[in-house]
Amino acid sequence: MIWRLIALIVGACAILAGAVLVAHASPIESLQTLIHGSLGTPSAIAGTLKETTPLLICGLAVFIALRAGLFNIGVEGQLLAGACCCAIVATRFHGILGMVLGVLVGMLAGALWALPAGLIKAYRNGHEVITTIMLNNVAALFAAALVSGPIKDPKQADTATPYVDASSRLPWIYSNPPVQINFALVIGILLAVGMAIWLKKTVAGYELQAVGANRIAARFAGISPQKVTVVAMSISGALGGLAGAIQVLAYEGRFYDGFSPGYGFDALGVALLAGNSAYAVLPSSFLFGVLSKGGTALQIDGIPKGITTVVLGMLILIAAAIRYRKVSKDA
């Protein structure tokens, strides 16, 4: 029943066009602005890729948790924990040491921030959605407190840490300002490929997905759902922390109050849109990157940036409709 799908897409486009018209703009022009602003020039593409990087790594964090049957809403908090701790450590060292320590400490912080949610889920059956949301708030407020006091750079007015030494920053793989592409993107792509292979080719990946697909059958297969839950949540948190650390070391150079515009939340959409393939997180995060960068261009044109969020919502709905249509046909 392909016509239903077509109707769905046409309907979604009509709603979008209507929303743009309400904002007193032309739908066609808006689309042009959006695409030109995100893909039209080399520097626009570089900006889109910069937006894509944290979405990609956070998307993978949500994705791996989903494979284990966990809905990690806490990637935002884990990203903040990772970024904050990375900045604290990396500013105290120079050169490659600062970079490596920053990444490791960021991952560790993210993992530790997710760990309570994993433990509570595994051993007390407390729902991870609730616990991770609460941990998000704790992370945001705690990081804000730290950065306005103990770890604040006394030499500047901003509530921010000092800058990480240039020698500890992640290198550019292409730099011709304003067009710059950071090594961080390569890390993200390698992570996606590595995760896809790990899930498919290792017994540990098989067991993680078994728990996600059928917890009870996994238990009968000699797998401990508790252990897998804790491990998966920690890996997810470590990736969230890594995304934060990379954001510090690649782009921002420091940690400050209001550090993330909500990458951890957008990552939920990235992972849902990707479905059940880690490779699909690549195009999915790129699409989110395009809309995020293009949204900024729209804003300059006087169209509310929120319209891109509406687009994303529609995309996720359509993806879900396609997926569940398949499931109900199987049943």
């Binding site: 290792t202 098989y206 697909a213 059958a217 238990r219 009968f220 297969a221």
Partner: protein, 499 residues
């Protein structure tokens, strides 16, 4: 002679598969009519057509002389046709009374007092007693079955379809159920009994219709037929009796359980000082009414629950400190009770499911890595072993019928150095041939040095297939005297707790 139900030339196709091919079924008013056949013969499909769950492609239906066409099962129940399925539709959190009236409350406002009076009179008519205000979770399987029958009476059903009603019942409960069914039939109700159990057909039904491969093969008066003839009609060839002439000598002790105590979900003692010895070569049956502690025993041996007291030796080593994975590594294999929830991942392909439970063992794994090629080959072997009907190994498990999933799960447990086989209703949902294949597979493994412990609620199946049978009652494991180890009466008494 008046017919309560006349189905003529019913044809139903699913895609390219013809599930029912011009099937006729005529059921006399006031009769208990048996419908028998193998898995996939079309019994359930035919009944689903009759009670309106699916629509036939061709053919006509008459109920009590009126031509009918049911679009929904609500229309069927209005015409007086109701069905009790294998999986009871009872909600454990509601009271018995609430369950009884659910969906047929007869108005927007509940009249509990009136409802209870009517419920009471229906129950009295059938000779049942119920505590109407108790939660349905407190019902025994037999009680749940009775409540299901009352639900049909509540809805004024005059034609009742019962699908494998005795699958979960003890012999005594099954006998009581048939007594009530006869009472209903005498009052003019018509009963269609879908069953795998030929003794029930011969003892309680007046006519029997045999389906095979979606066609009506024959219809007989029960007085004109016998078990052998029916079995041959069902399978389409003569049945080979299991060969039990081979003498066997039990070998070394593979499983020794002493004084095992396990707590149940509500803190009660679910296993009370259970002692059990299982030797190599042996197929040991555990009989008992559902909920007598079989599940806890199974999970304790599998390493899935904490034990309170007692000891357990598996293959000569103390195994209580081993987790489930360690037990599997040592050769324990499971055929779990509920294949759907415990045995497979339905969204995964057959190929992926082939490794489930064996995923850490060679050849499925090699130093922590999945060996995809070996897994695919094993999947093929597993699916071929008991002739799992399938579209392809890369298709999801959910594309298989329940019986074929069971074949797959049973074959998987036997495919790789099984030393100790733990099987909970290994033939659940299988037909005569499939049942025999699975038990033959278990027996073959045992004759090669393994041992098997088989839990079933079907005592006759255990007596036929096992070397000896013990019974569980209320958490205790009771062994008959050595000379009674396959004696139906002695074990039946143990099942209800009498010595």
């Amino acid at each position: 002679m008046s017919f309560a139900v006349r189905l003529l030339g019913i044809t139903k196709r699913f895609g390219t598969v013809t599930a029912l091919d011009r099937v006729d079924l005529e059921v006399e008013q006031g009769a208990i009519h048996a419908l028998v056949g193998e898995n996939g013969a079309g019994k359930t499909t035919l009944m689903r057509v009759l009670y309106g769950a699916i629509a036939a492609d061709e053919g006509s239906m008459e109920v009590e002389g009126n031509t009918v066409r049911f679009g929904t099962s609500r229309e069927a129940i209005e015409a007086g046709v109701g069905m009790v399925s294998q999986h009871y539709g009872i909600i454990p959190e509601l009271t018995c009374l609430q369950n009884l009236i659910l969906g047929a409350e007869g108005g927007l406002v509940l009249k509990n007092k009136v409802a209870e009076e009517r419920a009471q009179s229906l129950a009295a008519r059938m000779g049942f007693t119920f505590d109407w205000h108790a939660e349905a979770s407190t019902l025994s399987p037999a009680g749940a079955q009775k409540l299901e029958i009352l639900k049909l009476l509540w809805r004024n059903a005059r034609i009742m379809i019962l699908d494998e009603p005795t699958a979960m019942l003890s012999p005594a409960d099954a006998a009581a159920l048939f007594e009530s069914l006869h009472r209903l039939a005498n009052e003019g109700a018509t009963i269609i009994l879908v069953t795998h159990r030929l003794p029930e057909v011969l003892d309680h039904c007046s006519r029997v219709t045999v389906l095979r491969g979606g066609r009506r093969i024959d219809e007989k008066l029960v007085v004109d037929t016998n078990g052998n003839e029916l079995a041959t009609l069902i399978v389409g060839e003569a049945i080979v009796e299991p060969d039990r002439s081979q003498p066997f000598e039990p070998g070394t002790t593979l499983l020794q359980i002493t004084g095992l105590v396990v707590k149940g979900d509500h803190g009660e003692q679910a296993l009370k000082e259970v002692n059990l010895t299982l030797r190599s070569g042996e197929v040991l049956g555990i009989a008992g009414v559902d909920g007598s502690g079989q599940r806890e025993l199974f999970e304790a041996i599998a390493g899935l629950v904490q034990t309170q007291h007692g000891s357990m030796q598996m293959l000569g080593s103390d195994c209580l400190s081993w987790d489930a994975a360690e037990r599997i590594r040592n050769g324990l294999r499971l055929i779990p009770e509920d294949r759907h929830a415990q045995g497979v991942v339905e969204d995964w392909s057959l190929d992926e499911n082939a490794a489930l439970g064996l995923q850490r063992l060679a050849p499925f794994a090699n130093k922590g890595r999945v060996d995809g090629k070996a897994r695919f080959e094993m999947a093929e072997q597993i699916a071929d072993r008991f002739k799992t009907k399938r579209g392809g190994l890369k298709l999801p498990m959910s594309s298989l019928s329940g019986g074929n999933q069971q074949r797959f799960v049973a074959a998987r447990a036997l495919c790789l150095n099984a030393k100790l086989i733990l099987a909970f209703q290994p033939a659940r949902g299988l037909d005569i041939k499939g049942t025999q294949q699975v038990y033959d597979g278990i027996r073959e493994a045992c004759r090669n040095g393994s041992a098997a412990l088989v839990v079933s609620f079907d005592l006759d199946e255990l007596l036929e297939q096992c070397d000896r049978v013990v019974a569980m009652n209320n958490g205790k494991l009771l062994e008959p005297r050595a000379q009674d180890s396959l004696d139906r009466d002695a074990i039946g008494r143990l099942m209800v707790g009498a010595q």
